[in-house]
Amino acid sequence: MKRLRTPKRIRIPDATALGGDVIEILLSHREDAHGLRNLAEHTIELFNTPTEPTMWRLFQTTYDDDPVAEARYVEKTRGRLIARKREDATRAISVFNTGKPGLASFKIRTDRAHALNVLGFLNDARLIMGTRLNIQQGETRRAEIRRFASPDHPDRLPRNRYLFLTHLEFKLLAAVRGAFSP
């Protein structure tokens, strides 16, 4: 398992639609792009073990009360589901491998199709991390932040990574949906 370099403070990422088909992702440093690429590589490795407990949100039970139908459905769809998720993560890696330093930032430009692959990867990564962090149904954001607030909390760094991905996903969604495009 690859270890990610994690900042002590959350560096806020951004994404913007530049017009035409171009989406720009703004990171604070090149190492943020490296961290995202490493996370995508690690996520691809995890797709090899879809029955691992923290993967349950990606590879879920569809027929809760019918094991025969469930087995048939898994047989029919699991390969396609893994292939699609692997494609998202692989294309995300190709996006994170590009980019150049800007003024106090690291800029990555890509097209909308690849941005949608990055979006798919970010959502999968958050589902895996959120499961590991036991993000609770009904827990308010304030209660969630309080739960991880102590500097000694063992999950503080993973939580920071999760917040980083959450913010990037939110901004990228806005960019691909054209909400903030000029």
């Binding site: 949100r57 990606l58 879920q60 039970t61 569809t62 027929y63 809760d64 009360d65 139908a69 459905y73 029919k76 769809t77 396609r80 589901l81 699609r84 998720k85 979006l119 798919g120 959502n123 999968d124 958050r126 589902l127 959120g130 499961t131 993000i135 609770q136 149904q137 009904g138 827990e139 959450t166 996903e169 939110f170 969604l173 806005a174 949906r177």
Partner: protein, 81 residues
Amino acid sequence: MSEAALDWIVRVHDDPITLRVYVDHVIEKVLGCRGEEAQSFTREAQAEGHFDVRKRTQDEAEEFAELFQSYGLRTTIVRGV
């Protein structure tokens, strides 16, 4: 088609991780609706814990469930009553 003929329910569940705006985005992609209509499904999931899409055949229900799952939404299939 009558409501009674729609025997299979694709049930998309609310979850604490997925962003609300992402759910709107997926609903637009999968169901082809936009704006307020898509947001009404998302609001229903938050209020009721899930929203349902009724389908006539099991194959059709599975096609939609697979699509929702490919986007990471928690989706189950139940037989309609």
